[in-house]
Amino acid sequence: MTTDRPIIQTRGLTKVFGSNGTAVHALRGIDLTVQRGEFVALMGPSGSGKSTLMAIVGCLDSPTSGTYDLDGVPVQGLSGAALARVRNEKLGFVFQTYNLLPRASIARNVELPLLYAGIGRKERRQRALELLEQVGIVEKANALPAQLSGGQRQRVAIARALANRPALLLADEPTGALDSKTGEEVLGLFKELHRRGNSVVLVTHDPHIASFAERRVELRDGLVVEPDAQAA
């Protein structure tokens, strides 16, 4: 693994929903490169295609055309199981609404990606506790998500995203459901993760939140509108 290899590299990515008369062109040809260790904010108004781009970058959806290399490996054409492995090993997701499993304890929520990675029970538990320690919430390890505040839940989600030491952290409006003070704390956590060398892509429509990133990429109508913001 070389350090100068981009973590994300897309060429001519398009995404069309529907067909013929009802076709919606969500992405119209995205060329985007994100270097390893970068903290990038993906910005744009509602309907600009940023969530669609995030889904494709997160291997949750596939493009209609174009190419996408994640950590130097082309992911288009991979099977469902292979994509699941990529999501498990290389990506960590943080969602706006946390998306924790409501009936699983905090520790178990964090353990899940490790379970899917085939890591043994003892090691899973140990790693989950370490991660919860890192995000400052280890004392709630056995609580259920409903017993936590929004900020605490988002910290759990971040711990879960970091479980398999992913190459890339993807955060979709991670402070959208939080009050401004808690939001700042969470963003501070992302900044800290970036400082430690993690690559982070943050989707937001809020310029203030985007200001925490070191680079901003703006989308409008399915196209990147600030080419000078791209490093590639």
């Binding site: 889904a55 997160g58 949750l60 959806d61 469902g80 199981a81 699941a84 492995r85 999501r87 498990n88 090993e89 997701f93 969602f95 998306n99 924790l100 499993l101 009936r103 699983a104 899940l112 990606p113 379970l115 899917y116 990675a117 085939g118 890591i119 043994g120 029970r121 899973r124 879960r160 479980a163 398999n164």
Partner: protein
């Protein structure tokens, strides 16, 4: 995933899901409970009846017997010359039958019946006495309670000795020692050398003893009865019985015996061969029909329950689409999601089966108590009930699990 306790995790997750959705889970399990209870209950009731029937046959001397009896050759009208000249069942028939296939026969006996006054110091009654030889006692399920059986010499020479059934002993010697005492059968003084154990069988506990008549027997050597009470020069007998070593040769031996007897009896059907095992098998075959009906009702319950299950699971899946999406986003493959849903359905089937087994036992206990017969639970009935429930549970879980595993992670995450 490798062997990392993933199965255990799936079990825990399934258990939590079931516990948290108890109402839905209970509804899902009802079909399994009813199906298992129906199959197990039905089979157990049927088995209990069959076992009772087997006990009866065992007490009657076992099922591996061929019994030849006199039968009326003349149905109606005047007998033909051949019919009139026929001699009926004879001792010679038995001896020749033993040559048919000596290796197949484990035991044989013949019975010669007479009637007369039987007297002791305590009673004086008109009674039937039965002349026996060979293996009469084991062939009829009797065993000696006190004293001894007839010796070979006593049987061969027709010595005046007797064995008394339990009722006969109580009637003719209500008190004191009976062995060595003398009774008079007609004019013949006969020494009692043994008594027989009491034969008791009640289909239901409240029934009178079905075998009371078998305790009335007074047994004498058949040679004695033939020579001094009811004999003739053709050595005619009332009944001949064979015990067949191997049930698989019963049919062949029976056919050979019938051909032999028809030849001996001038082609007249004045005898009846009773293949006890075949009779029992016929009864059991009828029992199998009930088993099939019970199984069918169980299968229908499982089928109905399974279809309800699919519907409930599909509805439940809608509540869990987002959860599936989250799992997929953090690395669960479609296969892992499939296994998760299958585990949950199978755990539910397992729990439903356990409740069904308890229900089945309770149901069969209630019915057998009502019939007043002992409950007999066979491991095979449990196995069948579990096998059917497992098979149906598995098949009906496939579709919802497959649907869940085919969800697009993106659409699942966006699902509201």
């Amino acid at each position: 995933m490798k062997g990392t306790g993933a199965f255990r995790e799936r079990l825990v997750e399934a258990w939590v899901e079931i516990r948290e959705n108890l109402g839905r889970s209970s509804l899902q399990a009802i079909g399994v409970v009813l199906g298992v209870a129906s199959v197990l209950g039905g089979f157990s009731i049927s088995d209990s009846q069959r076992r009772r029937s087997d006990e009866r046959w065992t007490k009657l001397g076992g099922m591996d017997r061929l019994v030849v009896q006199q039968a009326t050759a003349v149905k109606d009208g005047t007998p033909t010359a051949l019919e009139a000249a026929n001699l009926g069942l004879r001792g010679d028939d038995r001896e020749e039958a033993e040559f048919l296939d000596a290796r197949a026969i484990e035991g044989a006996t013949q019975e010669k019946v007479a009637r007369g006054r039987v007297r002791s110091p305590y009673a004086d009654q008109d009674r039937q006495v039965r002349g026996i030889d060979g293996d009469y006692l084991p062939l009829n399920g009797y065993s000696i309670e006190s004293g001894r059986s007839f010796s070979a010499q006593e049987r061969a020479e027709g010595r005046p000795v007797a064995l008394l059934g339990a009722e006969a002993r109580a009637t003719f010697f209500p008190t004191g020692e009976v062995i060595g005492q003398t009774i008079r059968v007609g004019d013949i003084p006969v020494v009692v050398v043994g008594t027989l154990e009491e034969k008791v069988f009640r289909w239901r506990e409240s029934d009178p003893n079905w075998f009371a008549w078998r305790n009335r027997v007074i047994l004498l050597p058949s040679v004695l009865v033939a020579r001094r009470m009811n004999g003739d020069r053709w050595n005619r007998v009332e009944r001949v019985s064979f015990r067949i070593r191997d049930l698989s040769v019963m049919k062949t031996f029976g056919e050979g015996l019938e051909t032999l007897l028809r030849g001996n009896h001038r082609q007249q059907g004045d005898f009846r061969i009773d293949d006890v095992a075949a009779r029992v098998r016929r009864q059991q075959d009828q029992g199998q029909i009930y088993n099939l009906i019970f199984m069918l009702s169980g299968v229908l319950s499982l089928l109905g329950g399974g279809l309800v299950n699919v519907n409930i699971q599909m509805a439940a899946l809608k509540d869990r689409v987002r959860e599936v999406g989250v799992k997929m986003a953090i690395g669960a493959s479609g296969g892992e999601v499939f296994k998760g849903f299958m585990t949950e359905a199978l755990v539910l089937t397992g729990l439903g089966s356990l409740v069904g087994l308890l229900g089945g036992v309770a149901f069969s206990w209630a019915i057998t108590s009502l019939l007043r017969i002992p409950l007999f639970l066979q491991p095979m009935s449990f196995a069948w009930a579990l096998l059917l429930a497992g098979a149906f549970g598995f098949v009906f879980a496939l579709y919802p699990a497959w649907k869940a595993s085919r969800l697009s992670p993106m659409e699942a995450l966006r699902y509201e």
